[in-house]
């Protein structure tokens, strides 16, 4: 896994990934925002989006996906979403409580997807690539 993930997988995998990525992301977002009427919600949608990101990373390699989403971007996304979440819970109520149906799932989805993606990078890829230098 580690050798291929540095350069990315074969042409077929890359093409299929390009075709399916949009659908997986769309499904994750659908699950996120459909949570108030049907099973689903921010967390489940977030995990699906995270798996889509992991999918891209496995297909195209670590460098390509990190070029798309740099560590700085990931950090900014996660912190902003967390602050938004905090705001959504402790803002003035009850007049604004109904806006939470949009804010809370969205921010939870971002926290979960970015967070799990970061954990995946930290646990699965970095230790192996680091081992050579030690």
């Amino acid at each position: 896994m580690n050798h291929q993930s540095e350069k990315g997988m074969t042409f077929i995998v890359k093409t299929v990934t390009k075709l399916t990525l949009g659908f997986i992301l769309l499904y994750g977002i659908y699950i996120t925002f459909n949570g108030h009427d049907a099973p689903g919600g921010g967390f489940a949608g977030g995990v699906i989006v995270a798996l889509a990101l992991v999918h891209v990373m496995l297909a195209f390699g670590k460098e390509a996906s990190l070029k798309l989403l740099s560590a700085r971007t990931l950090r900014l996304f996660m912190a902003t979403a967390a602050i938004l979440f905090l705001y959504g819970i402790f803002k003035g109520y009850p007049k604004a409580i109904f806006g939470n149906e949009f804010i809370l799932p969205l921010s939870e989805m971002i926290i979960v997807s970015v967070g799990l993606f970061v954990i995946f990078i930290a646990l699965v890829l970095v230790p192996k690539s680091d081992k050579r230098s030690e």
């Binding site: 049907a38 099973p39 689903g40 489940a44 992991v54 939870e108 970061v118």
Partner: protein
């Protein structure tokens, strides 16, 4: 409800395999089977939210666990007081199960819950054009602080994993 008992027996069998098998990868596959059984049990117990959640969580933790175990193994060995410790643990567990079984007399029988607090949610929800998914509306409205805690736990894990994955922890030249 015979389905849930069959599923539970399946989960117990899978858990025993996961605990007792020597090969670590098989053990991880075993806990994957337990997780899938749990997901199906949630579906049978009319909790579709949890079934979805359990499925995606299971996939993620399997990936991470397989990453941790791959090509690493450990021969089985027993130290001096292995038998004594195991037997005392089993005695403790049997005592725990007996006491738990006795205490079932004080809680409702399976399938007849006394839905007190949740009745309030129902009366709240049915009056208004609110969320149809009650579990989601509990998570996002009534018990939103729990959800905040949940997000914070995840946040802590992300920062913590980044923190312990650092290679150079001591600053050069400082001090």
């Amino acid at each position: 409800m015979i389905e849930i008992n069959i599923l539970l027996v399946f989960m117990i069998a899978a858990a025993l395999i996961a605990v007792q098998v020597k090969d670590l990868l098989s053990s991880v596959i075993g806990i994957g089977a337990v997780g899938i059984g749990l997901s199906m049990a949630f579906l049978v117990m009319k909790a579709p939210d949890l079934a979805i959640m359990q499925l995606v969580v299971e996939i993620l933790s399997l990936i991470i666990l397989i990453r941790a175990t791959i090509r690493k193994d450990l021969p089985f060995s027993t130290s001096g007081r292995w038998a004594f410790n195991t037997i005392s643990t089993i005695i403790f567990l049997i005592l725990f199960l007996v006491f738990a079984y006795l205490s079932f007399a004080n809680i409702h029988t399976f399938g007849n819950p006394a839905i007190k607090t949740s009745q309030e949610y129902l009366s709240h929800v049915q009056g208004k054009a609110a969320n149809l998914n009650i579990v989601e509306s509990i998570m996002l409205r009534y018990r939103a602080v729990d959800t905040l805690g949940e997000a914070s736990v995840l946040f802590a894990v992300v920062i913590g994993v980044l923190a312990i994955a650092r290679r150079a922890w001591r600053r050069d030249g400082a001090e």
